[in-house]
């Protein structure tokens, strides 16, 4: 009999040991939420005389896309936030006014009338986190390295011909084509100025064969070489990024001494973590959890309109789909979709929609001009095109839970107009391969801008040698003519007018239409101040304080 008691004892002991090690609260045990939230408030009142105050910010963020932080190779979304935090760009676009280019490393700039030469005067006395001085040579090195490594970063500066150091604080860019958006491109976080001495020390080069000889990636993945407010001191993939305040930051020392960005991919878990006080903010929360976050008095929920958009593209090639190649049919489809239903029911209202493909938030885009659902009109257009009995078409998309729901909704909407849609979900990589092979009749995809200029859309969606237009066989001389004009126009008012013309033409041809533009839901502890959403780099870490 004793044997079994012994067994029971062993099991109980094991259980007890487990829970004991859990309950004994050593230094870092999670405190009850109430206690955690009370502390900062107390710290605030005693701010000047609180040397032991914890100035660490912990943030939960899904960083599944992060694969590298070398500015020359990174082409994802998380790196835009990281590069904006650790590097300074020549110019910047602040959250308050997305249409305005403001000075950052460059105090001022001039450009030639043909928009092919841009000269920047640098702010004197800027020091990198390493202590090295930031000069025109660093600017030249940065751009030439990114250009010559020929990774995703080089796509934004394809038009670069040469970069010339005029004097230590003056740098001149010569471009192969007129580029009015060059200033907006220069604000792209990944074009932050690299410390050329430091990068070279770790194997970096700007030579023409840099795509084979540059060896700085390993080091740049886990460190940063910039002059930004924070220095990246570690990156553990799928785990965390650690930033420490840059003591040399030329715009003043940032509030937090240390920022830890935790990779959390499960949204429910991230909400639990902020409610338990383990993290101070969640970069982006799922729409399904917003109400729960809003109900918590210790949290603040901030909604920002992102420029991330989801579109429906239809081929113009009759060999791929005879009906879709007719603009009238494509318009009929545009009238058949229940956009409000998608935004209200599936996205719970956390979305918006622009009339063409250029998102709301850019100059010249007016959400009220968007097409509204009209099934009768859709049927009429189908009849006019000779498809009164409908037709069958395949809809391809890279599968994820939201897209699955929306694709099912599209199928139901189009069925009401008499069009039979077959859903073809694919892995994102397969989808992109097929789309790039120009094979898809109807594609449901997404687009995220790298820089804030209308050419991010008018270029890639107009010309038959660029991403989206080529893939859907869209080749409209009228659209291209307007897009070409936009690319040589610097006057803001004229650009707005051209943007409107471009949108009207695209809505006439209807090769693509925007289904929805997502809103970003950020959750912060209520004592964190200074947060402002930015559609490219999420937010400026240096603006945050307690």
């Amino acid at each position: 009999m004793k044997v079994y008691r012994l067994m029971l004892f062993v099991m109980l002991a094991a259980l007890l040991l487990g829970s004991l090690s859990a309950c004994t609260p050593p230094a870092a045990a999670p405190a009850a939420p109430a206690a955690t939230q009370a502390q900062p408030a107390a710290g605030e009142t005693a701010a000047p005389a609180a040397p032991a105050e914890d100035k660490t910010l912990v943030m939960a963020m899904n960083m599944d896309d992060a694969v590298t932080f070398d500015p020359a190779i990174a082409g994802e979304t998380t790196n835009l936030f990281v590069h904006n935090t650790a590097y300074d760009q020549l110019v910047e676009i602040k959250p308050e006014n997305l249409g305005k280019i403001e000075p950052k490393v460059a105090d001022s700039w001039t450009f030639s009338d043909d928009l092919k030469t841009f000269t920047f005067k640098l702010h004197p006395g800027i020091k990198f986190a390493s202590g090295n001085e930031l000069t025109a040579e660093d600017v030249r090195f940065t751009y030439m390295r990114i250009f010559n490594v020929k990774g995703p970063g080089s796509t934004n500066i394809e038009m670069l011909e040469s970069v010339e150091v005029v004097d230590p604080l003056t740098v001149k860019f010569t471009l192969t084509a007129s580029t009015p958006q060059f200033l907006a491109v220069a604000a792209n976080p990944s074009l932050g100025i690299e410390d050329s001495k430091l990068v070279k020390e770790h194997g970096g080069t700007d030579a023409t064969d840099a795509d084979k000889t540059d060896k700085a990636k390993d080091w740049l993945d886990r460190n940063s070489a910039g002059s930004g407010p924070y220095v990246m001191t570690n990156w553990a993939p799928k785990s965390e990024i650690v930033f420490e305040a840059n003591p040399n930051y030329w715009r003043g020392k940032p509030y937090f001494d240390k920022v830890i960005v935790k990779h959390v991919s499960d949204p429910t878990t991230s909400l639990q973590m902020i409610q338990r006080g383990d993290v101070d903010m969640i970069r982006s929360l799922d729409v399904d959890l917003v109400e729960q976050a809003q109900a918590d008095p210790n949290l603040q929920v901030v909604i920002g309109t992102s420029l991330d958009q989801n579109y429906l593209a239809m081929t113009s090639n009759p060999e791929i789909s005879e009906p879709l190649s007719k603009p009238t049919v494509r318009k009929a489809i545009a009238y058949a979709i229940d956009y409000d239903g998608i935004i209200q029911a599936i996205l719970r209202g956390y979305g918006t929609r622009a009339p063409s493909i250029i998102p709301v938030g850019l100059p010249g885009v007016d959400a009220t001009q968007a097409i509204q659902r009209d099934v009768a009109k859709s049927k009429e257009l189908l009849k006019e095109a000779g498809y009164e009995n409908g037709f069958e078409v395949n809809l391809h998309y890279g599968s994820n839970p939201t897209r699955e729901t929306i694709a099912a909704k599209l199928k139901a909407d189009l069925a009401e107009a008499g069009i039979t849609v077959n859903l073809v979900p694919m892995e994102q990589s397969v989808y992109l391969s097929e789309m790039r092979a120009q094979k898809l009749p109807m594609a449901f995809g997404g687009w995220t801008p790298d820089y804030l200029d209308v050419t991010m859309w008018t270029h890639f969606f107009s010309f038959p040698d660029t991403s989206i237009a080529m893939r859907m066989w869209y080749d409209s001389p009228k659209t291209q003519e307007i897009a070409t004009k936009i690319e040589s126009e610097m006057d803001e008012a004229k650009r707005v007018d051209l943007t409107k013309q471009w949108q009207a033409q695209v809505m006439e041809d209807m090769p693509f239409l925007m289904l929805y533009q997502l809103q970003t839901i950020t959750v912060l502890n209520k004592d964190i101040k200074g947060y402002a959403f930015h559609p490219v780099y999420f937010f400026n870490l240096v603006d945050l304080s307690k």
Partner: protein, 339 residues
């Protein structure tokens, strides 16, 4: 044949098996219609001719497939598993980054399964048909039937969010950044560097994911121990032992258990290999930066070098554990040693 000779032959056999596995993997992964460029570059760069040309050349995509395969084999022989399309890191480095977290979790799970599973199995056998036996059946059934993506969320909700008894996701407290990197196993590294704060924190963080991941193995061990012990307990020599007047504890733990352990060890070896390769769900829920997530992303992106690398690694782990299981048979059963 001697044990050493037998072992040597088994280890040599790994080589042709690896070649076979790589061939099958290479054919299967390349049969899927994905252009590797969409994984290597980002969407906007796909029509940038310079970037496309450079990437094609760098990754050897311009070479015919059989040549690509031979290059892969040649590099593999030198310990080079190629460079991941997605992370642009050598696959060997990526695995070195992600494997320690998974091993730590697998060890924690196995420990949990053994500490509870063995006694529970023994009790269930001895008390066959009684209350304890039924409890063990229920525990096993729950373990075998609850999917970790549900049970993981539930235990987090109860023990972390509601009760606050145990820490939440991650390997360590969110305000700590982990002990100095030596082996990558947080518990070992924090002991080596006498970093007791990290040790406590990572030990606590290990509990919930280990329980969730190990529960299935616990069920397996409990059931196998029970049935194997029941079988042995009905044998003649046990009756003899009891007849000699030996104490029941001696009969069960010393005479019967030793013989009953052989199937348990077989299961344990394979279960451990399974814990390493099958922790994907648990890793996702508990934000655990292990090799399972890496494997899934490699598959989703059709990152050939990473898929081949992780699959090969898992295959080798299975082979090694099979050999270890064979060796341990010899330790438990003198008859096998003599053969």
């Amino acid at each position: 044949m001697s044990l050493a000779g037998h072992l040597f032959r088994r280890i040599l056999l790994i080589i042709p098996m690896i070649i076979g596995i790589t061939l099958v993997l290479f054919i299967v992964t390349h049969a899927i219609p994905v252009n590797p460029l969409v994984v290597i570059l980002n969407e906007k760069s796909l029509e940038n001719p310079e970037a496309v040309r450079s990437a094609t050349e760098k990754w050897g995509l311009d070479k015919p497939l059989p040549v690509q395969y031979l290059i892969y084999l040649r590099n593999l022989a030198q310990g080079d598993m190629g460079t991941s399309f997605k992370t642009k890191n050598p696959v060997v480095d990526d695995l070195r980054d992600f494997l320690p977290a998974t091993i730590e979790l697998a060890l924690g799970s196995l420990l949990f399964a053994l500490i509870l599973g063995l006694p529970l199995g023994i009790l269930a056998a001895v008390k066959n048909g009684r209350f304890v036996d039924k409890v063990s059946l229920v525990v096993s059934l729950i373990g075998a039937s609850m999917p970790p993506f549900w049970s993981g969320l539930m235990v987090l909700f109860v023990f972390y969010y509601k009760l606050g008894w145990l820490p939440g996701p991650g390997r360590i407290d969110s305000r700590l950044t982990g002990p100095e990197h030596i082996t990558g196993l947080f518990l070992v590294d924090s002991v080596l560097t006498s970093d007791w704060v990290s040790f406590w924190s990572s030990l606590q963080h290990l509990i919930l994911p280990s329980v969730i991941l190990g529960w299935f193995t616990l069920a397996l061990i409990t059931r196998i121990t029970r049935s194997s012990l029941l079988e042995v307990l009905s044998l003649d020599y046990i009756r003899t032992a009891r007849g000699k007047g030996l104490r029941e504890r001696t009969v069960v733990l010393e005479h019967a258990l030793r013989n009953a352990m052989i199937p348990v060890i077989t299961v344990m070896g394979l279960a451990f290999a399974g814990l390493i390769s099958g922790a994907i769900m648990t890793e996702t829920i508990f934000a655990w930066p292990g090799v399972g997530r890496y494997e899934v992303e490699a598959s989703i992106n059709l990152d050939y070098p990473a898929i081949m690398g992780t699959t090969l690694l898992f295959a080798v782990i299975y082979m090694i554990f099979n050999i270890l299981v064979d060796i341990s048979y010899a330790l438990f059963d003198p008859r096998i040693r003599e053969q």
